[in-house]
Amino acid sequence: MKLYFKYAAILVKSQMQYKASFFMTVAGQFITSFSSFFAVYFLFDRFNEVDGYTFSEVLICFAAVLMAFSMAECFLRGFDTFPQLIKSGSLDRMLLRPRSVIFQVLTSTMEFSRIGRFMQAAVTLGYAIPTCGVDWTYDKVLTLIAMIIGGIAVYAGLFILYAAISFFTIEGLEFMNIFTDGTREFGQYPMSIYGKGILKFFTYVIPIALFQYYPFLYLVGRSVEWWYGLLPLIGLIFIVPCYGFFVFGLSRYKSTGS
């Protein structure tokens, strides 16, 4: 863990070599996230509610997803850029160091400029929490925290899965973006508005709804099932098969060398 922070320190130093670029990216991230915020805003300006959800309620969902995504992207950026790590030979170099490959991929890059997106999420959350009409008891606060943590875990799993697939093919990896960048965008609304099929898919296959929809139902009082608030923790389990697949891919890499 100490080593993790040393890696982080060197990455901060590296990124601070290009200060202007760093702050521009932060600002850019902050502003582009606004566009999706406005999309939500104008929609509600016209229709007042979507599927019975109010503006502030949807904002909670929006902010939780955005926050989880920005955290995952900041700290798991190495998996997102994994195909390049293979191509550039950096993976070979990692194999030459007496540390686990997963750890070294984690520490190969951290995208601190994602703080821009994170700030956007924090501001939105700051606005939505007092205005959404939720009675903030302890269990509801914990539910919201669980949503964010579960979200980080699911996105982390997806990034690792993405990296694992790139052991086998570098073509067609784009489709994975549907689940990462895609769900970040359409995950702003409670998953149920897209219909039952989509909801099922994102419950049982890629557990986005587990941190974004069910606990949200409990949060806004649409459901009284308190255990919905625990569902995001299943997101943590989602990492396990993704990690397993990555390890499998790595062992194959060692035997093919490509």
Binding site: L3, I10, Q17, Y18, R93, L96, P98, S255, T256
Partner: protein
């Protein structure tokens, strides 16, 4: 001690012809070709040896290095280094080796080199005293005291290479793999690198395995040569052995008085233009002294130089001999 026995490695490579229709075809039906990168590779390297590993591009040098350093596993055969199988016992193995790739950097690009060193100290869990000792010695021998404070991206290639070598030796490895360490370096840096490697091998008895296309590297550093071609070890011997294979032929370049050199027995004339001639003799048939005596008996010699074959030429003739 490095022992490889009957190591085989085959790569599957997708192949298609040029052209759009071929590209579309390949989308549905990929054709694969099998490339035998390594074929029954067997050799042993003792502790403290310096070995030059040579062969043309694509002969299998990198594959062998990858197997020995634990990045890749072979299809069959055994590789045991100091009692360990590199790719199975990766973490323990890599602590004992240092690897320098001439074409790739292992330093963090945007921070001063010393920061990279400090991080490597923690990555390898090098005890503080040992780190200080190694670092001091490396800085002194490689002359990187000042350049260490600069970010890697601002270093010249020669400076960077010296830092790369230092970085791969901080943990005091027993075996050092150098993959084309002098590629693209200027003469001064090349010599600095060679001198350093020589000293390292002498003082620490570090085993050095060097792949290179620069025959001066080989001549300056290695006492043993492994030649690989088409995935097979073709020759395993000392530089002297390699030389004696080829040095039976010598070239004599002479300047003489007169227009045409009379023919001399057992001396072949390659070129003869107006007082300058290039002759080749086989020392198995006639010694250099005998040849000079015979020529000076036939003509008045003004100047003479005797040339042996350079290592480069030897390697070319080896490549020809083995048809690689």
């Amino acid at each position: 001690m490095i022992e490889l026995s009957n190591v085989n490695k085959t790569f599957k490579v997708a192949k298609r012809n040029a052209g759009f229709t071929e590209a579309v075809k390949a989308l549905f039906m990929k054709k694969y070709e099998y490339i035998h990168a390594l074929n029954d590779v067997t050799f042993t390297i003792r502790d403290g040896e310096t070995v030059g590993y040579i062969g043309p591009n694509g002969a299998g040098k990198s594959s062998t290095i990858k197997i020995m350093s634990g990045i890749m596993a072979p299809d069959s055969g055994e590789c045991v280094i100091d009692g360990r199988v590199p790719w199975k016992d990766r973490k323990a193995h890599v602590k004992e080796i240092g690897v320098v790739f001439g074409q790739r950097s292992q330093l963090w690009w945007d921070v001063p080199v010393i920061d990279s060193f400090e991080l490597l100290k923690d990555v390898y869990r090098i005890p503080f005293d040992e780190y200080k000792k190694n670092l001091n010695r490396l800085t002194e021998l490689l002359g990187i005291g000042e350049i260490m404070k600069m970010p890697t991206r601002q270093l010249s290639l020669g400076q960077r290479m010296r830092c790369e070598i230092a970085a791969s030796l901080l943990h005091g490895p027993k075996i050092l793999f150098l993959d084309e360490p002098t590629i693209g370096l200027d003469a001064v840096s090349k010599i600095a690198v060679r001198d350093f490697v020589k000293a390292l091998n002498k003082e620490n008895r570090t085993t050095v395995i060097l792949t290179t296309h620069d025959m001066q590297d080989i001549e300056a550093l290695t006492d043993r040569i492994l030649l690989i071609g088409n995935g097979r070890i073709l020759m395993d011997g000392t530089l002297d052995e390699l030389k004696s294979r080829n040095t039976s032929k010598k070239t004599l370049v002479i300047t003489y008085a007169g227009e045409k050199l009379p023919s001399v027995e057992r001396v072949a004339v390659v070129k003869d233009i107006g007082g300058h001639a290039e002759l080749v003799i086989d020392t198995g048939e006639i010694s250099v002294a005998e040849a000079i005596a015979a020529i000076s008996a036939a003509a008045e010699i003004k100047d003479i130089t005797v040339q042996g074959t350079t290592v480069d030429e030897m390697v070319v003739s080896l490549y020809k001999e083995f048809k690689i």
